[in-house]
Assembly symmetry: C2
Homo-oligomer: 262 residues x 2
């Protein structure tokens, strides 16, 4: 049970697929933009274009929520905004704590997209005493000693971890022990949590690596210049089969982010 199962196999409570849930925020954003321009209705085609998906998928997604459109006309923008917000749980207030106030933590603290979606930054927490009391994005940083008290007093159930990788697990454990049941993790580590706690991960470098993969393929397609062609042994790979493994290069930088003084 060390690692626990982070995500329950069938998370859909009343049947909304995960993939659909992940797109609802996209639709919501597009709809909010339309709402601000006072557009009364949209067709699935238009909304899909604005959200960057295709219209069949959008209609299917909405069909899981109910029948909120009008045939021959489209969807009422305001009504859909409300329905999606409600489905996502954004009609209520979600107090959130952010732990680790480095550059990233500060960026998150000031991120407008949180406040406008029902998320309220209840507290900024950092282990560095020098940070305590200093205001970041208008909110005074508090010391990690007060973490448990803050979570309990404010009824916080969502925590954001923006600390270095080395301390992420222990921060996570404290959050969970204090009652947090959803965690957004920016530290490059796999967190283990008990059943019933959700973890979502955002890793800035993973996305770049995926881009690099595709970028490499593009270059390889143009000319066979430096591409890999087939997986030939190539030039100088490390020991293809070291029996006892001697040195191991032990790079200078490991995995720790170096950002986020925490």
């Amino acid at each position: 049970m060390a690692t626990g199962r982070t995500h329950r196999p069938a998370t859909r409570s009343r049947g909304i697929p995960e993939a659909t849930v992940a797109r609802l925020p996209l639709y919501l954003r597009a709809l909010t933009a339309l709402s601000e321009r006072s557009v009364p209705t949209v067709s699935s085609e238009e909304l899909a274009a604005a959200a960057g998906v295709n219209s069949a998928k959008l209609r299917k997604d909405f069909s899981y929520l109910g029948s909120y459109g009008t045939r021959g006309v489209g969807y009422d923008v305001e009504y859909l905004v409300y329905q999606i917000s409600r489905e996502l749980g954004l009609t209520q207030d979600w107090p959130v704590v952010i732990v680790g106030i480095g550059n990233l933590g500060a960026a998150l603290a000031g991120y407008g997209g949180f406040a406008s979606r029902g998320f309220r930054v209840a507290a900024l927490i950092d282990a560095d005493p020098a940070m305590t009391g200093r205001p970041v994005a208008g909110i005074p940083v508090q010391h990690s000693d007060d973490l448990e008290r803050i979570i309990e007093e404010d009824g916080v159930s969502i925590g954001v971890i923006a600390t270095p990788a080395g301390v992420a697990q222990q921060v996570c454990d404290r959050l969970v022990a204090a009652g947090v049941t959803s965690i957004l993790n920016f530290a490059p580590t796999v967190l283990s949590v008990p059943d019933g706690v959700d973890v979502r991960k955002v890793d800035l470098s993973i996305e770049l690596q995926i881009l690099a993969f595709h970028e490499q393929r593009k270059a390889g397609e143009d000319a066979g210049a430096d591409g890999d062609a087939e997986h030939t042994p190539a030039a100088a790979p490390p020991a293809p089969r070291g029996t006892t493994g001697g040195g191991t290069r032990k790079g200078p930088d490991g995995d720790v982010p170096a950002v986020m003084p925490a």
Copy 2:
């Protein structure tokens, strides 16, 4: 052409599924950690635990790369690190530009996970003249006027957009025109790009919204207290069917992030 298709339908060039590609960085991180501890070999079970996936998936993933393991033994750590790095294109140097040096841009500029994976921050670019020349994470910020020159001189093919949503599309257009073919977008907007350009999106608030969805479900399961039960019309939804749509509430905050002075 307008929205273009951002992701090609069958991206696998020689057959590596997207889902697998997205996990390779995870394996690589776990392997790097093992490598630093001078562990010579791992079994699929151990490595899977360290990466937070199950072992069957991991073995299947590796099978797309080739047969790099030894039955009865496991995988040679160093060799796998090399093979995955090569597959991801991390054995070469990738110069990257970061546009928009606010808190988030600064966090990215200093992120250790980039440098250690073959990504080199070639330039930091911001539209604010007051930022020009100021060092961030040891790299002097340059003005956006020089964007095209920098990209061409350094042969940059990957760009990171950390600007406010309002200018993201035009920054994107300039990057693409100058030769960038992969973009990592942190601005909460759908970017439209021509065919052949890859875009990946990271939206900080989307992840939180997904957590809120599940969090709401958890609360609803305990007691029917305030849950939605079924999708009854409930209390006070906006006009379920406004014919011509009168006011539309036009909220104070729209969608723009407010972070990242750009």
